[in-house]
Subunit: 329 residues, 2 copies
Amino acid sequence: MAHGSGGQAGHELMEKILLPAFDNPILREMHDGAKLDLSTNKIAFTTDSYVVKPLFFAGGNIGKLAICGTVNDLAMTGAIAKYISVGMIIEEGFPLKDLQEIVNTMRKAADEAGVYIVTGDTKVVNKGCADGIFINTAGVGERIKGVEISPLKAKAGQNIIVSGYLGDHSATIMASRHNLELPNVIKTDCAPLNHMVKEMLTVAPNIAVLRDPTRGGVAAVLNEIAQQAQVGILLEEDSIPVREEVQGFCDILGFDPLYLANEGKLLAFVDQEDTEKVLATMHKFEYGKNAKVIGKVIDKAIGEVGLRTAIGGIRIVDMPQGEQIPRIC
Amino acid sequence: MAHGSGGQAGHELMEKILLPAFDNPILREMHDGAKLDLSTNKIAFTTDSYVVKPLFFAGGNIGKLAICGTVNDLAMTGAIAKYISVGMIIEEGFPLKDLQEIVNTMRKAADEAGVYIVTGDTKVVNKGCADGIFINTAGVGERIKGVEISPLKAKAGQNIIVSGYLGDHSATIMASRHNLELPNVIKTDCAPLNHMVKEMLTVAPNIAVLRDPTRGGVAAVLNEIAQQAQVGILLEEDSIPVREEVQGFCDILGFDPLYLANEGKLLAFVDQEDTEKVLATMHKFEYGKNAKVIGKVIDKAIGEVGLRTAIGGIRIVDMPQGEQIPRIC
């Protein structure tokens, strides 16, 4: 508990674990707040808390989610993440070696994304009052000039691109939670998408909408956009990329991959004439090499998402009602 | 649990409780991240998580702490808070009426401070995996031009001003936790200090250091500064403002008010010649009306904080070692 205080033990936690792991010139100044000189006064600002269970899983841990999630949320507004804050709530008795591994992973993810962790806070709560560790990150990004992303810009004729296979993250967490064996190929897709997004917006500055299909999956995101923009969306079942192993997992447990959370995927609404060059750009990136068009925006069935099935029928993809998989991120 | 999902129940929580309470033009855009047009590219950025127990106490609740704490952290860097993010981790079964009261309080505190809550995130964890509600806030502020606050600027000859009575917040929480009766005058001092700080920096732009003595109290903050700036600090016991009722409380329970957390107080390191005008400015504000000089920076006893006692001896005020009062904020 003493590690959560403002005193000596709290300083040791900072000085022995957090500051060395996150070290950078801004953090070294040790203010209550970080002083930042941005290259623009047009910024984006976002936050997310992470409560994933288990904390460690194939391909990552809660720390990787916490960095990539916020980097990606900023990217989805057309902004390049620059600075991240980290707030940790730690349960008394949480192993320091686990904390060390988590912060090392966060540093690695921050380096890959090209962001600095510049300010933070640690609270410790009594045994039984939290579940290991919860992490909040907030992020400040610089908006790319000339880019105006908004769900309201979705309009009939645009293609909907997804950046890769759906459901890997959810399948990984579920398998880990229930001690199910999954083939090695299945691990979290958690990844920072900002470098790819920057390139996509360079070749096609008028991409209309960008969204990462996290909690609630593609179904939740597309329903939201259909309702906000008052358009219809039609997906082609044959085009939706799902790994065979994840599909099998879904078939057994009764899940639909369209509702599964992803942590390193994006959906882009792109004009017909930009589609080829956006896809070509995405294919150059590890995190976009399997990108493809999965559907399009239409001017019928306003506010609804439909799926043209393999046999030619159309099924409505509803907004998810309850929690499919709790504590997925 | 469904309220934590990306689906329908989560939308209802947003649309029925959070969005109406926090409503403002930026939040209404409903992006993953808020797009902000600042008046400067020189900003400050900070975060804090709040785990206070109990959640409701005399004079405030966790929501008021969460807004004021981040507003104040920004003020202590010489920045005026503009935008706040809110991340909530809620335990399954937490009463919606308590949540409503907390978010109403947050809105009220945000209005008083003149900040917008522009982006947020809500996670729900199973019963027993959190303790009611934890709230993280992060904040973006615009730095005041010409102001350069840094602990390294503490130097011999400066006066140390405190903005009012010490220990009210800690005494309130402790009393509430142990069902002790305290006189009505004792309630949390939690308050946004940004308006007063702005005025202080207008009359004295070269204030050297500003800090809010939260966890670890005045003792922790001054020890940190003495070590960072390599100066000594000498306090006058007779000058330290503590309410009689709080002092009595400390005497009974064996606490020292210098170590108690405050949530609406600041310490300012001010040049001799600026002291009178800074005090006069502070006295005009409700949250600074009891401001006074409590000590000064000296060039002896480097790295240490001393207290000249009422009978003329000098006692060393150490960095607090463990947790005096856990979950105080």
